[in-house]
Amino acid sequence: MLSHGKPVEIRGHARGGQGMVTAFEMLAKIFSYRYNFEVQAFPFFGVERTGAPIQAYLRIAPGKILNRSYIYHPGLVVVFDEGLIDQTPVFDGLSIDSIILINSEKPPSYYKGKARDIYTVPATRISVERKLGSRSLPIVNAAMVGALLHILEADIELARDIIAEEVPVKPEANVDAAIQAFGEVYRFKDAGFRPQATGKSAATMKKPTSEVPFWDKPMSVNKTGNWRVFAPSYVERPAPCSDNCPAGTGVRQFVKLAAEGKFDEAFRTIYEHNPFPAICGRVCPHFCQQSCNRIELDGEVNIGAIERYIGDKAGHMAFEPVPVVHSGKIAVVGSGPAGLTAALRLRTLGYAVTVFEALPKAGGMMRSGIPVFRLPEDVLDREIARIEQQGVEIVTGKKVTVSELEGSYAVIITAVGSHIGSGLRLGNDEDVTDGITFLREINIGGRRNGIGRGERVAVIGGGNTAVDVARTVLRLGGDPVIYYRRTRNEMPAIAEEVEEAMKEGVPIEFLSAPVALAKGDNGRLQMTLQRMEMGEPDESGRRRPVPVEGSEMTAAVDRIITATGQWPDGYVFSGKNISAGQGRLDPALAGFRTPVFCAGDMAWGGTVVEAIGSGNDVAGEVEAFLQNREYVKPAKSSKAVTPGEMNFSYYMRTPGYATPVQTPDVLLHNFDEVAGGLDEDIIMKEAGRCLHCGECYSCGNCLNFCPDAAISIDDENRLRINFDYCKGCGICVKECPCSAIAFAEEGKTN
């Protein structure tokens, strides 16, 4: 076309957001800067936004352009969105010489009869392949520029830097798209084409029907729904709190119910996945809280305190056993969180379940490993009693093996925990206790362990056991020091507990590890410690402590308690060396006639809530096995709402309420609970801070912002979109505070 040196008039049809206006400006610059033509490019906008049909005009001429009106008889029509062909008269005013270019995967012959010279280019595919555009619309302008340069016989190489400069982002990908489109233009000549008279009406002015324009149904004139390329829809997306709970608790739901004062319903919501709300409210590290999106605004919601309140308030709630409907009985070995959770799940599914516990009281590590000043016994008793109320039989003081149980049960679940602690292996073992044993003897055996007043106790380790041991020693009148070979950042213990231990006066020696132990003349122990420094990260991602040469020092101590690792008691497998993983034991390896399943700490180690999750899973696995089904573990979602997807401007900054922690004035023999609860009105306020990530809470922003009044509230107080008028502009999606509106191509889902 260019070679003729004649003026060219181009009319473009696109949807707002596809980049046509920029494309025409790019072309104007290319023909002005590289070819010295006069140019004129301008759009016709309505008041509408993304998705609305728009037109743009481009004149290119060797001399002055003496026309500023729209283009009614274009030499070239370019259509950015095929869908417009049925909606607007894009081919109006074509002459016999006119060319059309359509963004389409179809061959140009498909448009036979529309023009004599027909081109198509798969600009959408070319652009999508290069990830050009937002999630609302693929931006096809660079590809369309490439195709137009081909038709106009221009040199794509001369256009490269102009395209790169004009696009707001991804210059290289846009240039690539233009070059690919330049070479991927398909042409069809329809020699039989004859232009039709467009029948433009004579110049008469339409007579209005009133003196003043009015709309008796506001916004009803133009059914803008047919402009829509992308459609919004209300969705419920996973919140990070719920998504990160290892037990699968519906955290967002129970927090919402708590905010409404519906504590019984909130309890039932937790109880669906977690039979220990009052316990977890106290001892769980709260993965929910750690992932709370509100951290990015003004601090996380204190979900732990809310859960604790819900759990404590549920004392009055009565639970009845369901009838046993299945014949096969199930044995569970171990009454820790994994064992009891699995037992409760299977019992409520109608199986008879018996739990065997070696210690005189049920609860596993919750009973023997967590000091009562963190988890009072009555809290534990109450939650276990509830499980018994629901028909789970618990036999305590009975240490059993799988072999003893075989024959009497259809399935045996072992969940014996990790109650064997590791020693120091530096000699003088009689003076070294492991922390798990120490805590068990205190908790079960009456809080005496022969620690004398002022006795120096070295606690080795950095996990929860080490911290619990040190705080217990303090209460027994001893003088504890924690030695940990890494730094505070690497300590696996719950940060708040470390903080509290330090407040209570437990010194922690970081970067120090015992390397030798000797007995001094005075009967005291001489522990040699070596200084460490942090080296390269190991396979767990934590930085590895490296000894500092020549940094040895000694400490005189009366007793050493180790908390450097723990493993399961092999007794349950009669001493057989079986490494247990979550789920069913391989019968060939284990050699048991009865199907044996494993769960909890013995399977993979972790916190109470992770053991509960493991118990839920093993119950599902056992049930599936007994019903001859395949068990599908509920997958962790990858679509939980991230802080970046929240619209924080719509939330007021409101400081949260912290859990009250009273560091006791007198620690000696004081085993009272350290952390306190919050009052009901405070709990409701704190729960009210929930951002409702991924769940509509009827704030009405979408309704207020919709420029087409296409959103309304129905009789059931739910927000509804009227798709006759929704033009897919995406404003509601942008203004939704909590990412509860999805935006996907019409007819598809995200």
């Binding site: 260019l2 400006e25 800067y33 010295n36 140019v39 004129q40 906008f45 009106s69 001369l158 324009p213």
Partner: protein, 399 residues
């Protein structure tokens, strides 16, 4: 030789660029912002309204990029936008703002005050109507402000916008009068076309970097403004204003010549095309309709074109000079892109006033209101009206 090579041989890039200029493709609104930068404006106030917004956005971007050393302040309304300009102008800043339609109307009260405080303020107005609600090209907003005392220029191209802003500061500071530079919505504001941007030193040669007038307020000798003026003095200020207004047309022409000598682009208060003794009809136009009319009259040797560039104060002398060249029976056809509640549009009114007492046949056309497109076909239809017939109405509505 490839197509590209042959075209580039005929039109090497850079050909046709006047000296000390660089060529850029830009929208009218961006040309306005460029002119503000070249005028070394120091203080800008901003309030968004379609279709003006991209002017103040571009200015803000230039400042943010470090390309333009000025202060831009976002205000809470157009009334405040103009009020803040008053203050800044009083202490000697060279100031600018841009607005449209309802925004200009909202500032109406302050426009009077600015004019009668004789402040050298330049503002762009991108014309859109008020009601029925509409965002497209229409001159009723600025023309309804013609009695506030502001000088008004109407621009035909992005180049003219840039050049007129530069000239406006010079005129404004010389005469102590505010100037409104008017752009047609979309046809100019959002149309990308070739614009020749003068180098800064060339612009500085024409418009001194420092404001021409002395500071009104010396902070060491404070003064108060806006106090009550009693009947014995009031009209004396009006009379001085009247004297200044009378200089605008001549200054415009003189400045247009000076500008032409420096920049290679000449301007006047009006422009006449194809007006000679054989001219039977003259189309009187303003702003972008002029361009399309230029094309149409190429096919009508007996039709002339009179473009009104300076609209307020109306350049009576220039108009009469042009009409002197035409046939005595020549028919004057005024195209008005404004409706202000009267029988004829504002251009027709002003032309009638200018031609008072002359035996001319004068007609008015309402066209292009509220952004209605005015293609060559519309102008052809105007020329098909039988103006010779005594039955033909004085005013026509043309689609």
């Amino acid at each position: 030789m490839t197509t590209t090579e042959s075209i580039l041989k005929q039109n090497p890039p850079g050909a046709g660029i006047p000296s000390r200029h660089s060529k850029k493709v830009m929208k009218g609104n961006i040309a306005a912002a460029e002119a503000v930068r070249l005028s070394r404006v120091s203080f800008v106030t901003a309030y968004p309204i379609t279709p003006q917004t991209t002017i103040i956005e571009e200015i803000a971007s230039m400042i943010a990029r470090g390309d333009f050393d000025a202060i831009s302040v976002n205000m809470e309304s157009e009334h405040s936008v103009f009020a803040a300009l008053m203050g800044a102008s009083l202490v000697g800043e060279r100031v600018f703002t841009a607005t449209s339609g309802q925004g200009l109307l909202y500032a109406h009260e302050v426009l009077h005050a600015i004019a009668h405080m004789r402040l050298p303020i330049v503002a762009c107005n991108v014309g859109r109507p008020s009601f029925p609600w509409n965002i497209w090209a229409d001159q009723s907003d600025s023309i309804s402000q013609r009695d506030t005392g502001w000088v008004q220029y109407y621009c035909e191209s992005s180049q003219e916008v840039l050049d007129t802003v530069l000239q406006s500061y010079k005129l404004s500071e010389k005469l102590g009068l505010p100037v409104m530079v008017v752009l047609d919505a979309f046809y100019l504001s959002h149309t990308s076309e070739n614009v020749y941007i003068p180098d800064q030193d060339l612009a500085d040669t024409f418009l001194p970097a420092r404001r021409i007038t002395e500071n009104q307020v010396d902070l060491n000798h404070p003064k108060a403004f806006g106090g009550l003026v009693d009947p014995s003095l009031y009209d004396t200020y009006n009379r001085q204003y009247w004297d200044a207004i009378h200089q605008v047309e001549d200054e415009t022409i003189e400045m247009g010549h000076e500008f032409g000598e420096l920049f290679g682009r000449e301007y006047g208060a009006v422009e006449a095309v194809n007006i000679h003794s054989g001219t039977k009809r003259i189309l009187v136009t303003m702003a972008t309709i002029t361009t399309t009319a230029r094309q149409v009259i190429e096919h009508h040797p007996d039709v002339g074109l009179l473009k009104i560039r300076l609209f307020k104060p109306f350049p009576k002398k220039s108009v009469l000079d042009v009409l002197e060249m035409a046939d005595e029976d020549c028919i004057i056809i005024n195209i008005d892109r404004n409706f202000l509640g009267d029988h004829e549009g504002a251009l027709m009114q002003e032309m009638k006033r200018a031609l008072y007492g002359k035996p001319v046949k004068i007609f008015g056309i309402y066209a292009g209101l509220g952004g209605r497109d005015v293609p060559p076909e519309t102008i052809e239809r105007i020329l098909k009206i039988n103006f010779e017939s005594p039955q033909t109405e004085e005013v026509h509505w043309i689609k």
